[in-house]
């Protein structure tokens, strides 16, 4: 650090997910998190609406004849207006069909840290892995985020999302094991050995897949399905209503796809080191929150002939913040 700098250099972990943008910082010996939903709605511009947004301290931007309501409050507005929220990202990367995607993501990050230009912090941001079997190029997504963050004053580096889970949760196994982040657009999986990523991939079935599939069957809005899913859905016990049953079906579909992809990816890897002991699996992300998810995943995985012996399956200590924390850990080790 230069002696002339007025601010001590900070490290920030940033999880840029399809569903949420989460920022992690170190606060003494603890980690502090702030987040925004990675979504927005546009409402017609009126002075009254703008004043109401200001009064309620709701993040927004004015775009000509529209007001764009950002982040956490967008869901409530979408529900009030019976419209779907708009999403800057889809399937883990920038949404090519959304012209506002970059400006919205930039605004969301600004709401989480308005002082980046002065502090010039080091930031480690999460990027997804390519979907298993697809030859998808993620360079554009990563390079664009890097550029946006650089323009905002950050010193950016990227980290694979699954690896961030490992850095956050697998300290006790010397960062050896499997980290899984089940988010909105993708389930990201990474296998690391002594902190070194050996294998990373994603599958395009995650929270959004469950929401849109259930919405198509029930005729509900995907936004409402998501709200219901996050507030009420659980795996344990008897499913009394149809929506529970539908959600359970698509959750199972996702879990089975995930287990099958793990078997295929690990089984076909030629570079798998001889780890020599069973490895733990850590699950994180908002899609793992329903009660009974771990048990359901464990059951499915035990029925799958995995080429690797698993020592345990556990949910991360703080599933919504795991990736951001892992990214922060990576940023701190770079300082």
């Amino acid at each position: 650090m230069s002696k002339n700098q007025s601010h001590p250099q900070q490290a920030i972990g940033l999880d840029v997910g399809t569903s949420r943008v989460v920022m992690a910082r170190r606060s003494g010996e603890q980690y502090a998190f702030s987040s925004q939903l990675n979504a927005f709605v546009s409402v017609p511009f009126t002075r009254m609406t703008e004043n109401a947004l200001k009064r309620e301290n709701i993040p927004y931007t004015a775009h000509g004849t529209e007001l764009i309501v950002l982040g956490n409050e967008s869901t409530r507005f979408a529900d009030l207006l019976s419209v779907e929220t708009r999403r800057p990202m889809t399937a883990g990367t920038l949404n090519p069909g959304e012209k506002e995607s970059l400006s919205v993501i930039r605004s969301l990050i600004e709401t989480l840290n308005p002082n980046a230009a002065q502090e010039k912090p080091q930031v480690c941001f999460s990027v997804p892995s390519a979907p298993l079997g697809a030859d998808e190029n993620l360079t554009y997504h990563e390079a664009t985020l890097r550029q946006v963050l650089g323009e905002m004053g950050y010193q950016p580096r990227s980290i694979n999302e699954g690896l961030a889970v490992i850095y956050s949760e697998l300290e006790d196994t010397n960062y050896t094991g499997i980290g899984i982040s089940c988010g909105g657009g993708l389930c990201n999986v990474s296998l690391a050995y002594l902190s070194m990523p050996v294998l990373s991939f994603s599958i395009p079935k995650a929270g959004d897949f469950i929401d849109t599939s259930a919405a198509a069957v029930t005729g509900e809005l995907a936004t409402r399905i998501r709200l219901y899913k996050e507030e009420s859905f659980h795996f344990n016990g008897h499913f009394s209503d149809k929506l529970q049953q539908v959600l359970a079906v698509y959750y199972d579909d996702m879990i089975q796809a995930l287990a099958a992809a793990m078997k295929e990816a690990i089984g076909s890897s030629r570079r798998l080191p001889k780890i020599g002991r069973p490895v733990p699996v850590v699950l994180s992300g908002g899609t793992t929150l329903p009660q009974g998810f771990r048990e359901r995943f464990e059951k499915t995985l035990s029925e799958t002939e995995m080429p690797l012996t698993i020592s345990e399956i556990r949910i991360a200590a703080d599933p919504l913040h795991t990736t951001a924390k892992g990214a922060l850990v990576a940023a701190l080790t770079e300082m």
């Binding site: 006790d172 002594l194 070194m196 990523p197 001889k274 020592s311 345990e312 080790t333």
Partner: protein
């Protein structure tokens, strides 16, 4: 990911884990691991052999006997006296007081010394039957079906912190481990984190616990101990540098009463209650301690056993196995004594035979190959790869 990345080999991995385990700050540990395992550092990693290791390697290079002399006619032409034809120390009988089965229920057995064995996870394997070899008379062997000893292991499985708040996780991990051990018929007994003794493979059968291994008692040599020795595993991990933490008091107490019961029931000599690291060998490299669980810190005294680390390693003085510098570096105290004793014994024998240590070692190695060739085809040398 960089295609150039090459995972560290077994010894290097042990070294990395050992070093990493000594770094308490998680960030510093991750920084160390990332630096030493990253793709760009493969060559640098290779150069980062610690000075201590270099010194040991140099010592071994200068003073250890060469391993290249191998005259096929050596044995007969020189009419060499067989090693240990005289002066074999036969351990004094050390039977302990009678311990009997008090009660046998569907899921447990209770013994008169307070031992309770949980049997829900019990499974079968091939029946015990093994050959032992006479050290003094090559070619002479006997078949046995009674267990002759106990090998102690650590499961090296994933462990949760031993805290009340982790109770569910501790139990879940134990359950998973037992299912895994049962599937693989890994040991005869597991002592879990709470000191509960679980039967895995039944006592009449072999378990896949030790793999390639050697031990000797008196004139008899045991080769590949899956059949001849019981496998008793502690749900634990070997932590180099922190030997006191490997087993907790509940586990040690359980190990003691289990050992007492097995010794009482089968008349097992105390000298035959040893650790996996003491018996494990690698025929491919002709080195000892292919597995290093309980290479140090085994609580022999607390189990009512003599300090068996002080016994010279039969794999070295009977069959000429050697060791590498990394192993020596990683096991600072316990087994070193037995290595020295074994080497001294070998040197004495070579001198008595009037040949160099290298020639003598070559002869012993030839003897090992002949012994292994004499083993029945059904010999079970499967092992736990996780340790």
């Amino acid at each position: 990911m960089d295609a150039q990345w090459k995972p560290p080999g077994r010894l290097e991995r042990r070294w990395l884990e050992w070093r990493a385990a000594r770094i308490r700050d998680p960030l510093a540990r991750l920084r160390y691991l990332r630096r030493t395992t990253s793709a760009g550092d493969v060559r640098r990693r290779g150069r980062r052999v610690p000075q201590g290791l270099l010194a040991v390697f140099l010592w071994a290079f200068l003073f250890a006997p060469g391993y290249t002399v191998s005259d096929p006619g050596l044995w007969r032409e020189r009419r060499l006296r067989l090693p240990f034809a005289a002066g074999i120390a036969v351990p004094a009988p050390d039977r302990i007081s009678n311990i009997w089965l008090v009660e046998s229920r569907k899921d447990s057995e209770t013994y008169s010394n307070g031992l309770r064995v949980e049997t829900q996870f019990g499974t079968a394997n091939e029946q015990r039957a093994y050959m032992i070899f006479d050290q003094t008379r090559p070619g002479i062997s006997e078949w046995r079906s009674q267990p002759a000893g106990i090998v102690y292991h650590t499961t090296e499985s994933h462990l949760a912190p031993f805290e009340e708040g982790q109770n569910m996780r501790l139990q879940r991990l134990g359950q998973w481990l037992l299912e895994y051990l049962r599937r693989n018929q890994s040991y005869h007994f597991l002592i879990d984190r709470f000191g509960r003794v679980h039967r895995v493979v039944r006592e009449t059968d072999a378990a896949n616990h030790t793999g390639k291994s050697v031990w000797a008692e008196g004139r008899w040599v045991y080769v590949n101990l899956n059949h001849s020795f019981f496998g008793v595993a502690f749900e634990s991990q070997t932590r180099p540098g922190q030997p006191g933490d490997v087993a907790n008091q509940a586990q040690i107490h359980a190990a003691r009463i289990l050992t007492d019961m097995l010794r009482s029931k089968y008349g097992i000599a105390a000298a035959n209650c040893v650790t996996h690291a003491q018996v494990s060998v690698s025929p491919a490299t002709m080195r000892i301690a292919n597995h290093t669980d309980w290479a140090e810190g085994f609580p022999f005294q607390e189990l009512g056993l003599p300090e068996n680390y002080a016994q010279p390693l039969p794999s070295m003085f009977v069959f000429g196995f050697g060791y590498d510098s990394v192993f020596l570096e990683l096991t600072p105290n316990s087994i070193r004594k037995s290595l020295t004793l074994a080497e001294d014994r070998m040197r004495l024998e070579a001198t008595a035979q009037g040949i160099s240590v290298a020639d003598y070692r070559a002869m012993l190695r030839k003897r090992y190959r002949e012994t292994v060739a004499a083993l029945p085809r059904t010999d079970n040398d499967k092992e736990n790869r996780d340790e």
